[in-house]
């Protein structure tokens, strides 16, 4: 489900079924040499998380991305966010990112790290294919978590 009023009311009505939250984590980098790369990575994570939401919308709530100025430590922010999500009754929290500095936090959090693929140079069919391939990679990460708990 998306974080908008209509979907969120479905989430509230089906809390036992929608037990997983995805938080995209995106760093914004303004340095002239890497700003384009940063925007491309942001676009990729946004596309991919939306694609995942579409496949699993009956079980997953996708939050709007957490963005931060690149290089600034996010441990506290992730911890706070996770704490709030769990306190609200959700069982699983996944942070999805293509940032290395977030990947390093994967001992503390369930971080799904994927190297950014530049989608801007692709036509729609190609994009679709790439997203499907990436989705196939992450599906087991979700289904394993879900299977272990039931």
């Amino acid at each position: 489900m998306q974080f908008h009023a209509k979907d969120v009311s479905d989430v509230l009505a089906n809390k036992t079924f929608i037990d997983t939250v995805i938080v995209p984590v995106i760093s914004i980098d303004f340095s002239e040499t890497t700003m384009i790369q940063s925007s491309s990575a942001a676009d990729y994570i946004t596309n991919l998380t939306n694609f995942i939401e579409h496949q699993f919308r009956g079980r997953i709530l996708l939050l709007p991305p957490m963005t931060y100025a690149s290089g600034i430590d996010q441990t506290a922010q992730l911890a706070q966010m996770q704490e709030k999500i769990i306190a609200a009754g959700f069982k699983h929290v996944f942070f999805m990112t293509s940032e290395h500095e977030i990947h390093k936090l994967n001992e503390q959090f369930a971080v799904i790290w994927l190297p950014a693929i530049p989608l801007e140079s692709m036509d729609n069919n190609m994009k679709q294919k790439i997203l499907e391939d990436q989705l196939a990679k992450v599906i087991p990460l979700f289904t394993d978590k879900w299977a272990n708990q039931n």
Binding site: F17, G58, Q128
Partner: protein, 169 residues
């Protein structure tokens, strides 16, 4: 002859009614058109979207057929991708919507190794028979929807989504 003459009063009456009538018609026509326009718009082949699936290559095993269309949401135009599970039952082409009737996840054909010959929803283990019928005891409460189908130049076209017509209850 005098009673055939048009008096000044009659003349004014006729002309004003005439002009008034035109004015009223001028105002009403767009209003009526606007009101019944959705009725006038014709539904037909235009609503069917092309896919790259050759009808001749379909078998009795469901395959994923993707298609895309443009969606305009206020000022935001986007290319939306969707898909259907398509197979042949004899000569009849059947296209099912992959949207789970429980909470909307995408179902997979033989998506679970322990349930052969069925559609499976990984979200809460929802199961459907090949014709889309929901299996009792799993979360979905209704059968998968269907797409209207059409064949043009050997290719499959998908039309509007309709309630499942295959499952007998």
């Amino acid at each position: 002859m005098s009673n055939n003459r048009v008096s000044r009063r009659q003349f004014l009456n006729y002309t004003l009614t005439g002009v008034g009538g035109f004015m009223a018609a001028g105002m009403l026509t767009p209003m009526i058109r606007f009101a019944i326009d959705p009725v006038l718009q014709h539904k037909g082949a235009g609503d069917f979207l092309p896919t790259s699936q050759k009808v001749a290559e379909l078998t009795d095993t469901p395959v994923k057929v993707s298609f895309s269309f443009e969606q305009v949401d206020a000022w935001y135009k986007s290319e939306v991708s969707a898909m259907a599970w398509v197979y042949k039952e004899g000569d009849k082409v059947i296209a099912l919507s992959p949207v789970c009737k429980h909470l909307g996840c995408t179902v997979g054909w033989e998506g679970s190794p322990s349930h052969k010959n069925e559609f499976f929803c990984a979200c809460h283990a929802g199961r459907y028979t090949k014709d889309g019928g929901n299996i009792e005891g799993t979360p979905p409460q209704g059968p998968l929807d269907q797409y209207e189908v059409e064949e043009k130049d050997g290719l499959l076209y998908l039309g509007p989504i309709i309630p499942n017509t295959l499952v007998k209850k």
